[in-house]
Symmetry: C2
Subunit: 145 residues, 2 copies
Amino acid sequence: MRKKKPGPQRRSGCPLNASVEMLGDRWSLLIIRDMMLLGFRTYKEFLHSYEGIATNILADRLRKLEAHGIIATKRDPADGRKLIYSLTPKGIDLAPVLTEMVLWAAAHEDTGNPALVRQMKKNKERFLAAVRRRWAGKPIRATAD
Amino acid sequence: MRKKKPGPQRRSGCPLNASVEMLGDRWSLLIIRDMMLLGFRTYKEFLHSYEGIATNILADRLRKLEAHGIIATKRDPADGRKLIYSLTPKGIDLAPVLTEMVLWAAAHEDTGNPALVRQMKKNKERFLAAVRRRWAGKPIRATAD
DNA sequence: TATTTTAACTTGCATTTCACAAGTAAGATG
DNA sequence: CATCTTACTTGTGAAATGCAAGTTAAAATA
């Protein structure tokens, strides 16, 4: 895995800024959540996710996530209409970020999904291992590289 | 600490969605970074931060962060013009989120500040403890409550 | 094989947010 | 009291967002 690429002009070299420029919007992390925790893999599934993303925004975010090497796309061999989206290793590595964001909100806001939160809180490492195991072998080679 | 408030209408009850609605933009987390890691406390300092936020956006973000109870504001007793912004306990609790975002970007992108990254990577817990210690006692009572 | 469905988009348009520049009010400074 | 600072607000154009409708290629159906 060639870890680092020069990248386009960023506002700054700060790693947090890099994360924010890739993920700092109202939809990207929710799409990654849907893939990581709910196993969503197709456009239609994302589109019908609870929060209700607009079709043009979804297409744009999928494009950008793929351009950043966070997700990968391939055609479904069984159905030529479908594209199958999956997390790359880079995308899977976002599991700790999602976990901390979930735990933070659960600690300070009135939120739902107590089962997930309980599981994450009870044993963070075990939860992260489960995500990685579920995705082991599955990621497709990223096209953007 | 009254942990949870009913909160306004959200797109969904998912804790990740709650986090994204509060922090999912291109500036909020950078402001928190400036407070947490660089010790910035005034409008002017934020304004002159490296990435160069616009004044109206900064005012808007500070307002929203305060409304969410993430930061608190009080007047500088020594200079009546100045407002002193500080992290609330809720804001300090974002340290693990920032840490994971920094480590993720540092692992997968070409970024700067290797000293910070090294420190975070070497001992995450020690780093988080240092942030908490630095802010111990300092947070001001949140006005938004 | 012709027709209808389905999946994954694109396009158009109104609304909201953002970025940049300039202006303002209250408090400090000389 | 004139000037400077600090923390903003306001105005304006550009960009992003949200919603509805349309498009294309492949698959399912009649």
